[in-house]
Symmetry: C2
Subunit: 145 residues, 2 copies
DNA sequence: AATACTCGGTCTCATTGTGAGACTAATGGA
DNA sequence: TCCATTAGTCTCACAATGAGACCGAGTATT
């Protein structure tokens, strides 16, 4: 279950390059790689934030919206539908008035938390360096061509 | 309250929930968390693919385009500029005619490969289950409300 | 010698994606 | 009585993106 942890990857990611070469087919085209359809979902602007919200506990629709104030209803609905379609989130409707709908991570959704956390930890760790790089870049002379 | 079964996640994810709670501020709003600005970049449609391409070796502009056939020049330029600005990619211009420009990952860029690989391995592993979930969802009756 | 092609872009324009906010209907609270 | 609440959907305006023309100088083809 925890194969992905330190031991395998920490050493400098041997085998990783090999995998990258497999994903990139011989002709250098990895445009059709099936991983892409999944990364497209994860790489969505809102998906990660919604998953982090649901990682904490089951949320109702409006609770997620309050947790992510700048997501529109429209995009939250769409993001949740996509996540439900992919089997990462489960939707449960209570026939109350006004309506009540609960969203929670499925087991599959939970399994994403580990790699996602690794990524977020990286973001957290490198955030100062990236901020510095941005400042430098913005202060530098325009691009040489 | 919390249906989240922390035990299932353990084995490497302790403290993760705590971290999520920190990212989500007390009022449940993690909209302004600095991690977000970094995730926004990683969560870009093309960024991941470009990084995977560059993980293999230094590429010239047109080589990347051939590796990712459906990226437009416009978006490739923009993605590379953003990555350069963030200090993940280095750009090197050779004053030849026609021009020649090399892109490679910086050390910071390389440091992203480990968590990124974890994510891609997850995608690779779960891809069949996700594909199945999608099919099920699409064949199921329309949403109950 | 004239033509075409290459490179790494930038530019315009059409299409697509997204955000803001109105609207819903039944209920509880002021 | 009036308004807020709920989980959406709908429309409209605006932002992001993709397609493809265009660039200039040197090299290759004709």
């Amino acid at each position: 279950m925890t194969r992905l942890r330190a031991g395998n990857l920490a050493q400098g990611c041997e085998g990783m390059m090999e995998r990258f070469r497999v994903w990139a087919r011989a002709d250098g085209d990895f445009g059709l790689c099936p991983v892409r359809s999944v990364l497209d979902r994860i790489g969505d602007k809102w998906t990660t934030l919604v998953i982090i919200a649901l990682a904490q506990r089951t949320h109702r629709f409006s609770e997620i919206r309050r947790a992510i104030p700048d997501i529109s209803k429209r995009m939250l609905t769409q993001t949740l539908r996509d996540l439900e379609r992919d089997g990462l989130v489960a939707r449960r409707v209570f026939a109350t008035k006004p309506p009540s709908v609960e969203y929670r991570l499925t087991e599959l959704g939970h399994s994403l938390l580990e790699p996602l956390t690794a990524l977020i930890l990286w973001a957290e760790k490198t955030q100062p360096r990236i901020a510095m790089a941005r400042t430098e870049f913005d202060n530098a002379a325009p691009l040489a061509v």
